[in-house]
C-alpha cells in the first residue's frame, strides 16, 4: 500500500532532488527501510545532508560485504534518527561500492563519530582503507595478525 510508505517516499524524493547525479539508486525496500546507493566520492556530502537536513544523527552500524564474484566490496552505513520522532522506526542503508583490487573509501567518522569502531573493524576484517580515519589500527584482531583479512570470501576455515 502506497499510503504506508508516505514518509519513506518523501525522504527518497528529497534525496533524489538534492543529489540528482550522485545518488545512483534510492529505493524503499519495505516499510521503515530505505536503500541508498551513492557514488563513493560524494558520500561525505550526502552523509552531512542526511545528518543535518534530514536528522539522521544516530549511526546504528556499518557493514562491509564482500561481493567477490562482482569484484567489489560494498560498505553499508545503517542510520537512524533521534531528532525526528515520527521516523523512529526508519533505517537508511547508505551504500557505496569500492573495487576489490584497490578498496579505498572515505571515512565518515567526522560526520558520525559513532562509526569509528565499525570502520576499524572493516579495515582489519576486509582490508578496506578508510581515508581520514583517526585510528586505523586493529580493533579485535591481534596486533601481530599477519594473515589475510579474515572476513574476505576466499578465506576458508581449515575444517570447512
Amino acid at each position: 500500500m502506497s499510503l504506508a510508505h508516505e514518509r519513506e517516499d518523501s525522504l527518497v524524493k528529497t534525496l533524489k532532488e538534492s543529489f540528482p547525479s550522485d545518488i545512483k539508486e534510492a529505493t524503499v525496500v519495505r516499510r521503515s527501510r530505505i536503500n541508498l546507493v551513492v557514488a563513493p566520492d560524494k558520500i561525505a556530502d550526502i552523509a552531512v545532508f542526511l545528518r543535518d537536513k534530514l536528522g539522521y544523527d544516530h549511526p546504528s552500524g556499518v557493514s562491509a560485504v564482500d561481493y567477490n564474484r562482482e569484484g567489489r566490496f560494498e560498505i553499508v552505513y545503517h542510520l537512524s534518527s533521534i531528532k525526528t520522532r515520527d521516523q523512529q522506526d526508519i533505517v537508511i542503508n547508505l551504500k557505496e561500492s569500492v573495487p576489490r583490487n584497490s578498496p579505498k573509501a572515505v571515512s565518515l567518522v567526522s560526520v558520525w563519530p559513532g562509526v569509528e569502531n565499525y570502520e576499524r573493524e572493516s579495515i582489519e576484517m576486509f582490508g578496506i582503507q578508510f581515508e581520514g580515519h583517526p585510528r586505523p589500527e586493529k580493533l579485535f584482531l591481534n596486533d601481530n595478525w599477519d594473515g589475510p583479512p579474515p572476513m574476505r570470501k576466499e578465506v576458508r576455515f581449515p575444517t570447512d
Binding site: V29, S32, R33, D57, H58, P59, S60, G61, S63, V65, D66, V76, H78, I82, Q88, D89, V91, N93, W112, P113, G114, V115, E116, N117, Y118, M125, E137, K138, L139, F140, L141, N142, D143, P150, M151, V155, F157, D160
Partner: protein, 369 residues
Amino acid sequence: MQAMSPTEPGAQTMTLSVGPQHSGSGHMRLIVELDGDIIVSAMPDPGYVHRGIEKIIELRNIIRSIPVIERPSIIDASNLNHAWVKAIEELQGVEPPARGQYLRCLINEMNRIMSHLYWLSIYGVFLGHTTMFMWPLGDRELFIDLAESLTGARITYSYLVPGGVRRDLPKGFAEEAIKRTKYFEKRLDEYENIFFKNPLFTSRAKGIGILTRERAIALGSTGPTLRGSGIDRDLRKDEPYAAYGELDFKVHTRPGGDSYSRAMVHMDEMRESSQLIRQILEKLPSGPVRRKAPIVVPRGETYARVESARGECSFYMIGEGGDKPYRARYITGSYRNLAAIPEVLKGVRLADMPTSWWSIDYWPVEADR
C-alpha cells in the same frame, strides 16, 4: 592497539593497563592515562574474546547457527536469538503464530531481567557490596528455573526457531511465574533500600561518568545507556515486533546521563519486565506455537533489529537462496556502546572507574562476537 609506554621522565601522566583478565565480565583491556588519580583518557582494547561468529554463521545452515548466535551473551540468549530468527523470517516472509510471538516476548522479558540482575551483581562486586553481589545472583535463579521448565535449558535455550518457538508452556507454568514475579518485585524494593538509596552507591554514581544527550546520539549509543541520557528510544515501542505492539508497558528514561541514571534505568526496566511477564501470561492467545519454515535464506537483504537487554541487536542479512546467509552482519548492544566507554571515563577518578564503565553494561563477549 599501541604498545604500552612506560612513564617517561618528566611526563605529567602515567599510563595504566587494566585487564585483560576480567576487568569486568569477560576479557578486555582498558588503557587508562592518569594525571594523579584523574583519568585523562581511557581507550578500550577489545578482541580478547573474539570468536569470528560472523564468519562461522556464513558457513553453517541457519538452524545450526542458532546456538552460536546465543554465545556472545549467554545471559541474554533469547534476545540475540530473536534478532537472528527475525532476519530469517523477514526474508522468508514467514509470520509465526500469535501464541509463538507471545512466548517469544515471555522468554525475552525473562532474559532482560536475568541479564540486568547479572549486571547488578557485578556492580555490587565493583562497589565491594557483597550483599548486592549475592542477592541478584540468587534471585536470578527464580527465572532460570522458569526458563528451564519452559525450554529445557537454564541459560542457552535455542528456544526461538524460524516460524515460532520450540515448545509450548508446561503445565502450571503461569501460576508459578505469577507467584515468582510478585515475589521478585518485593525483592526489588529491598534492593532499593539496601543499595540504590545507599550513599555507598549514590555517592559514587551521582554526577559521575557523564554521557551527555548529544554525545550519546553522536556515538550511536543504545539501550539503557541511551535512555540513561534522557532519550526515549526502545525498539519494542519504536518498531514493535513479535507481540510488543499489543502489550502495555512504559519506556523508562532518566535525564542525568551519569552512572546513577543508567543504573536506575536498569532497575526500572526490571520492574517493567516483571509486570510484562504477568501481562503476557494473561493475554496469551491459544493456538499453535510454531509454523513450518523452510531451512533456506531466500535471495534478498534485510536489516532486522530487536531490543535486547543491552540495546539494539541487529542483523544485516543477505541471502542468495541457500541454507546459509551470504553475509550476516551481527551488531550487538555492547558493540554499539563500546564507543561510549572513553566518553564516560574522561575526568573520572581512578577509584570510580569500575562503577562508571560498568554502568554502561558493556559485555565484552557480546561486543567481540
